[in-house]
Every structure is written in C-alpha cells, then in structure tokens.
Symmetry: none
Subunit: 134 residues, 2 copies
DNA sequence: CCCGAAATTAAAATCTTTTGCATTTAAACA
DNA sequence: TGTTTAAATGCAAAAGATTTTAATTTCGGG
C-alpha cells in the first residue's frame, strides 16, 4: 500500500484523499466497477464519479491497477500486486497453482522481437481442471 | 465455421443472415468491438446495432465467442476457437499487432506438465509501445 | 405456400465514460 | 506558518456504449 503511495508521489502525482481511497477500495478486494469504487470512497470523503474515472485511468497508466474482464457491461478494476505471479485456476473447485514465469518471460521476449513492440504490461489468466477434479 | 452454424441450429436458434455475418466478421480477426462488427455486417446485409448486441450476448452464452479486455471503453469480442490469436496493443495509439501463438502453446504445454492441470481456457493480454510511439 | 415462433428494426431509454471550465487543494518553499 | 501554483477536483453537460420496447419481418417446419 505504502509503496503505491510512494510511486504516485515519485511520479509527481498528489496524494489526494480521493486517490488514496480509491486504492483502499481496491485493496484486498475482488474487482470492482467504477460505481462500486465511487460508493466506497463516498463514505470517506467528498468525491465525484468523474474523479473516480479520471483516477482509474491514471492508476492504470501507472500500472498500479488493471482492468479485468467481466460479464457485466461496466469495466472492472483490480490492484496489480507487486509480485506478479501467474496461476492456473481450476474451473471446478477453484484451486490455484502458481507457476514460475520463466516461459512467459521468454515468450514475451520473442514477441517483442517479432512485433517490434516494447511490452510493458500483461494480463494472463489460465483455467483448467486440477488433478483432483480431472 | 460450419460447426458453429450447426451448433446454433441444434440449439434452436435460427440461421439469420445477420447472425452468420457476425460470426464471419469475427472469423480470423483480432478482437472487435460491437461497432466494428456492425460496420462489417452492414456491408453484407441490412442490420441494426441492437441486433449486433443481442447476438453477441447469445453467442457468448453459447460459448462461441468471448469478451476480451481492451484499453478502450467499449467491449471487444473474439471467436472461441482452438487456434486463437493473440495481439499486442500499443498503450499510446492503440495499434495492434497479432503474434503467432506457438510460444504460448509451448508455454501452456510446459505449465500443464509442471502443475498437472489440464488447461482449458486462457486470457492473455499484452500492452506496450509500438515502434511509432516509442 | 402458410404459419407461428423467433429475430429484426427503429427509436427511445438507460447506462457508462469523458470533457470543459471554475474552484479547490497538496506540497514545495520562503 | 503563509504564499504560490500546478495538479486535482466538482459540477454539469456531452459523448459514447448498451439495452429495451413495440411493431414488423423472416426463418424453417409442416
């Protein structure tokens, strides 16, 4: 949490109540849509929905949060944990196993060469069946 | 393609021009937003945007297509197929480049061995800066 | 070819997100 | 602690995306 505030400061962003509360809302929470974050922050300080949207864009650009897929129409956001591990999640029981990311890193490197893009962010989700449920 | 039409019929859905064209639009294409699909289908038959949305919901429910994450505000959709395409998207200008999936497949295979999970679904999103924006 | 269920259209309603501008505020510094 | 100012916020309105409603058309079986 503190390192996120630090990251904001170091990049010249102000630590406003609203901004901090947005991060608080997402801390240790399932992905939330803008309105849900708004409802949380509203309880702690004066805030406007547009401020939520503006900050979600900033926090996203900084890599502190990411947009995730959802079934609903509105976008959802979640915190990006500093130690980004990847996991496979079982479609039946939900059990997760973390795998080392060496293959992922290798793949990213290859893709950078092929596409001439510099890859800065990623989102990888894997689902399947675990040995117990198979 | 044909098996998709077959799946629609077998589940009691009619094979309308509009519905078929939506699948055509997504066939062998990077993820598209509703409006892009609309523009494609429009060229081939009379269609309304609401028809696009309604069918995207139906096709999604049937598992023929899936929603994917994007930087923009509109949702994107892609065909669910065994050989799905992945793209890198530029954080600045939004330009996308598709990369072949061989490394991804290799990685998935390795992860299956390591974790003893059978991987059935995935979501991979890559963002960076394209050569022009670098 | 005819019928009924299902699908489509067009328009309007409803969400979601962005923008312009006046006002406020965090934080650097005297 | 007060002053300063770029950055951030609030408010309102617009823009964009998605859904709904009700009337009309179309698919596909008989």
């Amino acid at each position: 949490m503190d390192d996120q505030f630090g990251k904001l400061k170091s990049q010249g962003y102000k630590l406003t109540k609203q901004r901090c509360e947005i991060l608080e809302a997402l801390d240790d929470s399932p992905p939330l849509v803008a309105e849900e974050i708004f409802n949380f922050v509203k309880k702690h300080c004066k805030v406007n929905l547009s401020t939520i949207y503006r900050n979600l864009a900033i926090l996203q650009k900084m890599g502190l949060i990411r947009k995730v897929n959802s079934l609903g129409q509105a976008n959802q956001y979640e915190l990006v944990k500093s130690n980004c591990k990847h996991a496979v999640e079982c479609l039946k029981c939900g059990a997760k196993v973390i795998f080392s990311e060496c293959f992922f890193d290798q793949m990213v490197a290859e893709i950078e060469v092929k596409t001439h893009y510099k890859i800065k962010k990623h989102n990888l989700e894997l689902y399947g069946t675990c040995p117990n449920c198979a």
